[in-house]
Symmetry: C2
């Protein structure tokens, strides 16, 4: 199995396109975060994608790491309120990032821009993994009992039962590959721990996940908001993207408010887009420079450990096969 | 305006029916909480509703407060996985509690049982306030910027745009009357702060809330999960009950995990059911004895300050009118 440019994964520099125009405080904090990531990781090469002034700002500030920076200039970013289709426009920063990923000029993409356009652009540019109808954004939370994967945290506002099962498979594989979870226990986010709880979607998904579960995939049943913090019942929690997004932001803020220290030491401050045939990492719109650097670190790690190919195998429900085959087809409906 | 038995509100003892059989650790913690509440408040009289052994346990432990306890024995509680219609059965503890409220034998009901049956029973027994299609459970959170009302936290798994507007009105009135919020600023929970964010429900509700807003009712637009913790943008946050429930439980758990002290000192550890024509307070299934006592304290306060009648006025969109008229009609669909 080889990387997108023929190199075996995990060797040589890791090349990441970074969207300088994405995020509430772009480009300043993205530039800072990009340079922090380069300082921390000598094997990182960045493709800076942004407006001419943003790119120039980054190059001026780069100092000795400038040798590891390449640039692509674009007309504009994608507004937080912009249409999802904006992401597929190569004149936007996220569109250009994903074109570079598609062309094999980079190994991964990191953006703190609006997640809807990023997801839409990723699906159009690199396609979905076989067996996945809707990619999901996965976050790792520092629960009391250890790392916990929560997905979807914002790629899909509405999902179907089958999507939640796909996401359970992706989330369990991601927990094993990235979060250091040896035995993923999957829970379905709901309003009570009993099978009858929740809405029609949750009752259907509970039943489907019980059928899907097996010796290698433990389904523990419905879990509640506090279980994402405690982590005892499940270490992979599957949710629609609306609820997952609200829960993630609320829990992160509560940790941040209560802690003197950084709330998620050692846990990536960014979400990985699971289910597309390429490495795409999404940071918060309100990401700080260390958050951006954390997102870049996560992207580099996903590339080096060849996570997408291994997820492809997990998503198709089989033992690892190689190479993975992207399924490039437009989404029937694009998540906002 | 008079209490349900002809007394003016706020005078004489406050009589609350407590569901001894509701909650994960019932009856033990409910008994403890009930007695703690009586110790703390000499004007409290409790109607203990439970099985013979549960009632006897409470009476044995009561000591000098036994004179302020009355009892109703019932066959059974409502299981957490039980059907919502169970709540309307007077042979269940919650059903008997609400029958007592309907008959004017108590001023309020407190239960830590499954909220679905409680809501259904409340609607059937005492009816809804005029102008409210679906009652909502409201919680008060201790945000950084002060008390914040989050609703719905579990009464309705699915809502319509009009419900979210009703809940905005109820939540704003509740924030003023109970949470000490002088100028309620209402936010709509979504996945981003821009009007186009979220799903179809949220886009429709954003538009409807903008039309509904006026000088006395400030709508700030969509807010995010972290805004429930920070409280700067809004101090009333409106959500569907599924997402609100997950968010509340996650934030509360994060506070509890990070804090040495009790996470919500000074904030009621129970949700008020807004929109029914009677005082009903719902505690967590996992409530501790102090949580139950806090729920009883909240119920007593709601009764003494005549909150239901004042909410009725707010919900109908008019200046206070009296008396309020319950609209007793079955719900078209009962929330689980």
């Amino acid at each position: 199995l080889t990387g997108s440019d023929g190199r075996p994964p995990g060797t040589g520099p890791t090349r990441i396109a970074v969207d300088l125009l994405g995020g509430d405080d772009a480009p300043a904090v993205v530039v800072d975060g990009a340079l922090q990531a380069c300082d921390a990781d000598p094997n990182l090469q960045l493709l800076l994608v942004g407006s001419r002034p943003a790119v120039d700002e980054c190059l001026r500030a780069a100092g000795p790491v400038a040798a590891r920076l390449a640039v692509t200039t674009v007309e504009r970013g994608v507004g937080m309120a912009g249409p999802a289709a904006d992401g597929a426009d190569p004149r936007t920063s996220i569109g250009a990032c994903l074109q570079a990923l598609k062309a094999g000029r980079v190994d991964a993409v990191v953006s703190a821009g609006a997640s809807g356009p990023t997801v839409a652009a990723a699906v159009v540019a690199v396609g979905r993994l076989r067996g996945v109808r809707r990619p999901a954004l996965a976050a790792v939370l520092p629960s009391l009992a250890g790392p916990l994967v929560l997905l979807d945290v914002g790629a899909n506002m509405q999902v179907k039962v089958a999507d939640l099962v796909h996401h359970a498979a992706l989330g369990a594989a991601y927990a094993r590959l990235v979060a250091g979870v040896r035995a993923p226990r999957i829970g379905l986010l709901s309003v009570g721990a009993e099978p009858g709880k929740g809405d029609r979607l949750r009752r259907g998904a509970d039943s489907a996940l019980r059928s899907w579960a097996g010796p290698e995939r433990t389904y523990v049943g419905p879990v509640e908001g506090h279980d994402v913090v405690l982590g005892e019942r499940a270490n992979v929690v599957v949710s629609d993207g609306f609820t997952g997004n609200a829960l993630l932001k609320g829990v992160e803020a509560a940790f941040a408010v209560m802690a003197r220290r950084h709330p998620t030491d050692g846990v990536p401050r960014a979400a990985a887009l699971l289910g597309v045939a390429g490495t795409v990492v999404v940071c918060h719109g309100a990401a700080t420079a260390p958050d951006i650097a954390s997102g870049l670190g996560l992207a580099a790690r996903l590339v080096r450990e060849d996570v997408v190919a291994r997820l492809a195998a997990a998503a198709s429900g089989s033992v690892p096969v190689e190479p993975y085959e992207p399924v490039v087809e437009p989404l029937d409906e694009v998540a906002p």
